[in-house]
């Protein structure tokens, strides 16, 4: 207890030098939590939006389907397996038929993915209900597609495609609704139509390319030769992007933290040098070398504790403000390839705060301890004379 009190009095007594170290360390502390919170928020925000608009609770893919190889699209369709049809009939899954087509909005030529979906579905957050009406071919598009093709609700445009046999066909579609989403993967370069109409247009009755299952749907063990892709697989790209970003960010943490720790290390070395006589006196009064080491290490460690407290004073309101108001993203953030929207909301978990606090305290304690090892070799007589080996 005496050691603790002595260490505390010493560090407070050091005045401005202590507070400078504490403030710099607190910056690192707050910045690490803030940045980590942003990455966590980025991951959760993108994953949540993708699950809601695109992935559901996982997807069954036609064996030939490869979203990264558009050349396979022509062959990646087939009858929906019975196991999945049962789920579709119960409203627990939704089939999607995909083909490529060309659209001519205002006489301009644009290649798109033409997707057929059940208008009655509720698995995905797409407003497919608007595809129910009309004698004409109702078309649902996203805001990005609407912008790139210069289309608005009520506009007609020609769609040209090739059916299952390769015969050209064309029809005019009418934009019945435009949806806004952060998920570019269901919007950019895509047009949505009722699946029954698309099956008829392509001459592919009862066929599909993928089947999206609901969040709480029990995944059938087998569905013909269709391949099940779970959320870990479907979200692996986001996880990889976040992992890469975290690696980049950790270099920044290391730099910031090392600056703060270097300052503490310097302070400790300087303190040992300037307080040689004090150490000699304390040893002459009966204090052991171990107790001295403890005092000096504790003094250093107090930097960490004070940094946590100081960081909390300005960091807690700041982080809470960011959590509520988010971090506004520029317009070009949409091109990052992640479903983030206009604002990124950070998420600070308890483990993030506890983990970061412990990490900083541990690093500060180690850095504080290292210079004090010299005390182990200190002779009281030399110390009293102001010598240190």
């Amino acid at each position: 207890m005496v050691t603790l009190k002595l260490a505390y009095k010493n560090i407070i007594g050091a005045g401005l030098r202590t507070w400078l170290n504490v403030v710099v360390l607190s910056f690192s502390f707050v910045l690490i939590i803030w940045t980590q919170g942003l990455y966590k928020g980025m991951n959760q925000q993108a994953s949540r939006a993708m699950k809601e608009m695109e992935l559901g609770g996982g997807q069954f893919w036609h064996p030939e389907y490869d979203p990264y190889d558009p050349l396979t699209l022509e062959d990646s369709h087939g009858p929906i397996p019975e196991e999945l049809q049962v789920l579709i009939d119960k409203g627990e899954a939704v089939p999607i038929l995909i083909t490529s087509a060309t659209i001519y909005p205002d006489g301009r030529f644009q290649t798109v993915q033409l997707k057929g979906i059940l208008p009655e579905q509720s698995i995905l957050g797409l407003p497919t209900g608007s595809l129910r009406n009309g004698q004409e071919l109702p078309v649902l598009i996203g805001t990005r597609m609407a912008k790139s093709a210069n289309l608005d609700i009520g506009d007609y445009f020609t769609i040209r495609w090739r059916d299952a046999r390769g015969v050209f066909d064309a029809i005019d579609g009418k934009v019945v609704n435009i949806f806004r989403t952060t998920v570019g993967a269901v919007d950019r370069g895509q047009i949505w139509v009722p699946i029954d109409r698309l099956r008829e247009m392509l001459g592919m009755p009862g066929e599909g390319t993928i089947v999206v299952i609901g969040k709480d749907t029990v995944v059938p063990e087998k569905a013909g030769d269709w391949v099940f892709r779970n959320l870990d697989y479907l979200l692996r790209e986001i996880a990889e992007v976040i992992r890469t970003k975290k690696v980049g960010a950790s270099i920044m943490y290391a730099l910031l933290l090392s600056m703060a720790l270097l300052a503490i290390f310097d302070t400790q070395v300087l303190s040992l040098f300037r307080r040689r006589k004090e150490m000699g006196t304390l040893m002459a009064l009966g204090m052991t070398r171990g107790m001295l080491i403890r005092i000096f290490t504790l003094e250093g460690a107090f930097h960490g504790i004070l940094a946590v407290l100081v960081g909390a004073v300005y960091g807690v309101p700041l982080l809470i403000w960011f959590e509520k108001n988010g971090w506004p993203l520029p317009d070009y953030a949409d091109d990052f390839g992640m479903a983030l929207g206009n604002t990124l909301y950070p998420i600070y978990g308890a483990w993030l705060v506890i983990g970061t606090t412990l990490l900083i305290l541990l690093a500060v304690t180690i850095v504080s301890f290292l210079p004090t090892r010299r005390i182990a070799k200190l002779k009281p007589t030399d110390a009293l004379r102001g010598k240190i080996s």
Binding site: P70, L71, L73, T111, T158, V167, D169, I171
Partner: protein
């Protein structure tokens, strides 16, 4: 009265129809006129876009219906680009990237050098008699030439254009105008022969205007600068190795 008119009308129509030669024969004559064992042609494509026109020149070696090799000669940006078609496969070589890529799937639907022709237009079987049933629907004058008007309907289910209407020069057995329709009946493309020239005892199109009727462009003109029929073409031309040479 009515009972008398209908058979009479039928009789008149059948007499008129009997004056027409068999449509299938006309198709065969068209194919015989256009198709050759092999040919080498130098062409210029004038693409009329929204922001003006540009020309692309190319030399093509064509063997029957199956094989063709095209090397682009101008403009400098396209010079050295080569295309090889063997059966239903198409490859393209770009000197800028020094890469050979296979054009397949949705890429076939893309425009060829920004023109009104797509890559898949190049892949079509040029022999109409292989693909369509024909019916003569009339006789019209087009560009001061007497023409048969033929309605072509796909004979097979895997033909690109479900139906076509063609205007065929009666004397020269040459298609002077063509409308290509989608299955739904929508007009997709038109071709119009603006100029013809005699070559090796046959009449051949000299200048053709292609127009994608769904887009707002002014069309693409194809001018045949020179053409030679039945000249020997070495086999190595139709190989992927020739693309890089």
């Amino acid at each position: 009265m009515k009972n008398g008119i209908l058979p009479l009308l039928g009789l008149v129509l059948s007499i008129l129809h009997a004056q027409y030669p068999p449509a299938e024969e006309i198709l065969k004559k068209i194919d015989a006129n256009l198709v050759s064992k092999n040919r080498v042609a130098v062409t210029t494509m004038i693409i009329h876009g929204r922001r003006g026109s540009r020309s692309v020149s190319a030399k093509s070696w064509i063997q029957g219906d199956e094989k063709s090799f095209t090397e682009y000669l101008a403009p400098p940006r396209e010079k050295g680009t080569k295309m090889l078609k063997i059966g239903d496969r198409l490859w393209m070589y770009s000197p800028a990237t020094d890469r050979i890529i296979r054009i397949a799937g949705h890429m076939l639907r893309q425009s060829l050098m920004g023109s009104d022709l797509s890559y898949e237009d190049m892949m079509e079987d040029p022999k109409l008699s292989n693909l369509y049933n024909a019916e003569i629907v009339g006789s019209e004058e087009l560009n001061n030439r007497d023409c048969w008007v033929l309605e072509l309907t796909a004979r097979t289910t895997d033909v690109a254009y479900y139906s076509r209407r063609v205007w065929v020069d009666k004397e020269r057995s040459l298609v002077l105008k063509e409308n290509r329709y989608a299955k739904s009946g929508k007009l997709l493309k038109t071709t119009e022969v603006k100029e013809v020239f005699p070559v090796d005892g046959r009449w051949y199109p000299k200048k053709i205007l292609f127009k994608d009727m769904l887009s707002k462009g002014k069309g693409t003109e194809l001018i045949i600068e020179s053409i030679e029929f039945d000249v020997p073409i070495p086999d190595y031309i139709f190989s992927k190795a020739a693309l890089r040479k």
